[in-house]
């Protein structure tokens, strides 16, 4: 059979030729990406670094940094029962989330194992945006059984940009977004932009003063250009994931499939984690009514059957302990470091680690990490003392200051 001129075959479509999808900001990122250091973020071509990891990190802490979050999975949840659906799916009490506010949240399967964490934006009384690491459309639709609500995936339709750092407010003010100064931490509002609007929230993944902007994908480049023009004198720089990863580690924030394995991806049964095992127990509201995993979480707490705990560690020396094994009494393996850096802000060697209870829970002393430092083709094994410390590792007043600093 030969294809006719009118008939379009599957092979005629070009999408499969793209190994990685471009973000709506791709032309700008490509222009800045001198290091050509890309990675695959949920199917998108995303930068690890753009020009210099070290300086990109300091852009977050000393200037303003733009990080493309368009590859983040985004759902639009709308209808009379939108609140009921979000309350059923997520761990926190969504009835307490007022329109114009944002929750950092997580959600679980029937067994109380964490499917993902993310942010929930309440755009109006009956309209939400849920942002997450992974795709969850079937889960959300099935959770909506019997409810008057629509769930739509808008990952490709909506561009997202995180603007983080001490001068981030100044950038937005210079760009003409009047009223942004009224946004308190976890507030959101819509601002006129072009023919439509841009949603700006005072949120972020850095523990710093910062905002996240969401606009229709078609408006992405115009938004970028506006911000970069306004940010020229405020030191605005585009950054890649490596720099962000440093900042989030200092802020003590966890990343799905880096610090814990999401339950639909875990192949091994012992890799599944309940919220209490990854430091998200504070989200769980057992009194709000039914939600997915409630029974299993309550039962695990009652029976004391939780097996793991996520802790912040401060490690002696200055060698990052990334993926180091944690020992008790220098001998017994009790856990693994999932993220670690030398923190320029805290001036400490910090780490996030998963420990097997009772270590990290009842037994908190005499912990060690074994670091393999590769020095000119020779490993130097370092056994370093580790101390459990509270997260976040740094706390910046400017993150929550009102009004936000001008700098």
């Amino acid at each position: 059979m030969s294809p006719t001129a009118e008939k379009v075959t599957r092979g005629d479509q070009a999408h499969f030729r793209l190994y990685r999808l471009p973000s709506p900001f791709q032309p700008r990122l490509e222009a800045l990406g001198r290091t050509e250091d890309w990675y695959n973020w949920a199917g998108y071509k995303a930068p690890n670094t753009l020009w210099d990891e070290e300086l990109e990190y300091f852009a977050i802490r000393s200037q303003a940094a733009a990080f493309d979050i368009s590859p983040m999975t985004k759902y639009r949840i709308e209808g009379r029962d939108a609140e009921a659906l979000m309350n059923k799916v997520t761990l926190r009490d969504v009835s307490k989330l007022k329109p114009g506010r944002v929750q950092y949240t997580a959600w679980c399967d029937d067994e109380g194992h964490v499917l993902d964490d993310g942010t929930l934006f309440r755009l109006s009384a009956d309209r939400f945006r849920l942002c997450s690491q992974e795709r969850h459309l079937p889960w959300l639709l099935d959770s909506a059984a019997g409810m008057d609500v629509t769930v739509e995936e808008e990952t490709e339709a909506v561009a997202g940009l995180a603007l983080q750092g001490p001068t981030s407010y100044a950038v937005l003010a210079s760009a003409g977004f009047a009223g942004v100064e009224r946004l308190k931490i976890f507030d959101l509002a819509e601002f006129p932009f072009g023919d439509g609007t841009v949603t700006i929230s005072r949120t972020g993944f850095t523990g710093d003063l910062g905002y996240e902007l969401f606009a229709p994908a078609g408006q992405a480049l115009a938004l970028w250009d506006l911000l970069f023009q306004a940010g020229r004198l405020h030191g605005l720089r585009a950054i890649g994931y490596r720099a962000l990863n440093r900042a989030r580690t200092e802020a003590g924030l966890i990343v799905a499939n880096a610090d814990f394995i999401t339950s639909e991806h875990a192949v091994r049964a012992d890799r599944l984690r309940q919220p209490d095992e990854i430091g998200l127990g504070f989200m769980v509201d057992l009194d709000k009514g039914h939600f997915n995993g409630r029974r299993a979480i309550a039962e695990a707490r009652r029976k004391g059957s939780l097996k793991h705990v996520l802790v912040g560690l401060e490690i002696e020396g200055n060698i990052p302990a990334e993926h180091a094994i944690v020992y008790h009494n220098r001998k017994k393996e009790v856990g693994l470091v999932s993220a670690a850096i030398w923190s320029p802000m805290a001036k400490r060697n910090i780490a996030i680690a998963d420990l097997a209870r009772p270590y990290g829970e009842k037994i908190v002393d005499d912990l060690w990490v074994e670091i393999y430092a590769l020095r000119e083709l020779q490993y130097q094994k370092l056994m370093k003392r580790a101390k459990i410390v509270p997260r976040p590792f740094i706390k910046l007043d400017r993150r929550t200051a009102n009004p936000p600093g001008e700098f």
């Binding site: 059923k88 399967d109 029937d110 099935d142 019997g146 039914h290 997915n292 409630r294």
Partner: protein
Amino acid sequence: MTSSDAPKWDVVVIGGGHNGLVAAAMLGKARRKVLLVEAADALGGAARTEEFHPGFRASSVAHLVNRLHPDVVKSLNLAAHGLKFETDEVLPSVALSKDGNPLLFGGAYGETLTGASDAEAAAWKTLRAQLFRYAGILKPFLARRPPDLRGMAFGEKSALGLAALSVRRLGKEDMRDFLRMLLMNVADVLDEHLEDERLRGLLAFDTVLGCHLGPRSPTSLLGLYYRLVGEIDGVAGAQAITKGGMGAVVAALATAAEKVGVTTRKATTVKRILVESGRAVGVELDTGETVHAKTIVSAINPRTTLIDLVGARELDTGIVRKAQHIRMHGDAAKLHLALDGMPAFKGLTADQHRARLVIAPSVDHVEKSFNPSKYGEFSPEPVMEITIPSLVDRYLAPSGAAVLSAVVQFAPYRLKEGWETGKPKLLAAIMATLEDHAPGIGGLVRHAELLTPADIEARYHMPGGHWHHGELQIDQMLVSRPFFGAEGYDTPVEGLFLAGAGSHPGGGISGAPGLNAARRVIEMRG
């Protein structure tokens, strides 16, 4: 809305079908204050005896007793409450034949075989013994609560151990054959042993009765084992038509329940199961009343219970998925004929008409009548199981008249053309088949009532019109019945128990799900 302050009831049982009655009576016997709520005007669900035409009565869906659980009969002392079987003579079966050459399948599931060659009779004797031996191993599994995969109590472990032991006791060769045959299809097993098409057709029919399976469908043999674990008065494989129809079983159960103080409310529908903090605390009735109780036992369909009465909002999404995915599209219709006189089936003596009469002339015929149902069509040459209950109980029909009751396969719930136009066509096909076997029967028909799966669904609140409340196949058996997570009668909603045919072991008038559920309630101090 009214609501009593202190719960007056320990247990509310939803649904007064036979399993609901068994559960209620067992819990009443265990000194629980039990309220039984039934939507219809009469108890019994699909085990009622109903008048389908003035002066003519028949057992509405189930019309043969062959698996009423001995523990139910004994624990509730049903004999003292008026339940009697004709034990002097076990009801035989007959494989009918168009050319007047029927095969008599006598005693408890073919103890005697009349009309077959000696070689065939000997082969059947061997196969029959083998099938009963293997059914005997499965019997404990089909009687008890399914094994708890999350951690077993000592009693459960020892029961499993005993079952394992009974497999070992078979001897090496027999054990190998048991395991080999477990998931086979019945047609292949019959090919290995038997030649008489009438006998093979009968066995094939019995195997797939009530299921969406053909004899050649993988695992179909399990259906035959399911039938063979049934017994009456300790006689495995026996069957009976009760005086008064199936309603007599219901009446005995109702009396037993009443004796132990169960209160019954008929013509009352439960609209909602009330759940607070993951725990069932009562029910809301269509009258607007709320009734509080410590324990809610639902003997109606599992999907209806969870999705409609509890509501998806109160359930984890995984549970909702599982409940909605229970396969329960019925594939059998029920026929009731009011006849002006006794029909005469070819080759049968007058007395032999009391038997269970089966039209399933060959394995191929059963398979071919199954085929259209896969594509949403009924069989133009349906296979069926016929009883003439008015011969056992003359009060079911006016003097001189007769009642014929038949289960007809295959009639898919989702008929492509729709049952409105399909029903008269199916009735015509059935009557044509009957006419071939009992010439002149058409002229005797005063009234015909055909219940398609759609009718059964509407009339008896059986979603899909499936009398097992969920297809009874390997993927929906044991720990997977109705689904994993609710297999042990207790459910993800604390204080809510399932007790209907949708739970293990399944349908048929056994009372086993109701019995096991009541035992589980007591075990969990509900």
